[in-house]
């Protein structure tokens, strides 16, 4: 299904919105196949495919680590938990 881009200032914003939609599905744990998802956004298929595939790959690796150590905190990793700003 083609996306209606009329509400966006540039096509790039629509692409980013599609990317965020997929990331939101990843966070929910739905994790649809990239190809299936891109059928809904054929105009961004070529540009979004590598991004979404990378997102899936990174998420898989992160979840594996998180499963082994549930207390892992990325806020703490980047020093964002206490100071609230970059160290």
């Amino acid at each position: 299904m083609a996306l209606d881009c009329s509400g966006y200032s540039t096509p790039c914003d629509a692409e980013l919105a599609a990317m965020e939609e997929y990331i939101a599905l990843l966070h929910k744990g739905t994790e649809p196949l990239v190809e299936e998802f891109l059928k809904g956004y054929p105009q961004f298929a070529e540009s979004l495919r590598p991004v979404l595939e990378a997102a899936v790959m990174v998420n898989h690796k992160y979840r594996k680590i998180k499963a082994r150590y549930p207390a892992l905190s990325v806020k703490r990793l980047f020093g964002l938990d206490a100071a609230g700003h970059l160290p």
Partner: protein, 217 residues
């Protein structure tokens, strides 16, 4: 018959009383030594009789030295229930090893040596139990609250592994990929914490993913 020790004794070894063991006077060191010599002779004879098949003689040994064994075990393990179990085990070991007893040695010291070994082994076993409980039965949700050197070490390893996923990227992109893409932190929250614009962080996220994909090819 066994009596209690004189006041001021550092241990609670029994002072024997009755016939040869009852001098009917205040025990002095010379008297105690004489008593012990006599008892040592009795012990050696009793051991010889046990080895010859007279089990009544073993009961004599138990009656004479049971309190020493009890005291030694109780001093080590600290409770009556364990002491009772270990005492039975100790006398069993003594009976089995009786052929190894050297009659020139003090039987009480030899027997108490068994008690000491058993008591220490029981104590080591008891100390190992809490670690097992910690691994097996502590609910998962409580694990993050446990903080020890081992925990800290595991946390650092996990953080290193997480950072390794995005290692080729600049720090800003690393943060965007891990905090937003993996941990689900919103751009707004990330912007508040880093003092950067949400749109910039979104661009970092996308660029980070593109770089990772490119590097993978």
């Amino acid at each position: 018959m066994l009596g209690s020790g004189p006041a001021g004794r550092r241990d609670n070894r029994p002072v024997l009383s009755g016939d040869v063991r009852n001098p009917a006077r205040e025990p002095r060191s010379g008297v105690v030594n004489k008593e012990r010599t006599v008892i040592a002779v009795f012990d050696a004879e009793a051991v010889a009789r046990v080895l010859a098949g007279d089990l009544e003689a073993f009961a004599e040994l138990v009656e004479r030295h049971d309190r020493s064994i009890w005291a030694c075990l109780h001093n080590i393990v600290g409770n009556a229930e364990d002491t009772r179990d270990l005492k039975a085990e100790c006398w069993e070991s003594i009976f089995v090893k009786l052929r190894e007893y050297d009659p020139s040695r003090d039987f009480r010291k030899w027997a108490v040596g068994f008690a000491r070994k058993l008591g220490c082994a029981a104590l080591r076993h008891r100390k190992s139990l809490p670690r097992m409980v910690g691994i097996e039965f502590v609910p998962e949700r409580r694990l993050p609250t446990v903080s020890g050197p081992q925990d800290e070490h595991e946390r650092l390893l996990a953080e290193e592994e997480a950072r390794a996923i995005v290692a080729p990227l600049p720090r800003e992109q690393q943060m965007a990929v891990l905090c937003h893409g993996c941990d689900g932190m919103s751009y707004k929250e990330l912007a508040r914490l880093t003092g950067r614009k949400p749109g910039t962080i979104q661009s970092d996220y996308r660029r980070g993913l593109e770089t990772l994909r490119r590097l993978r090819e």
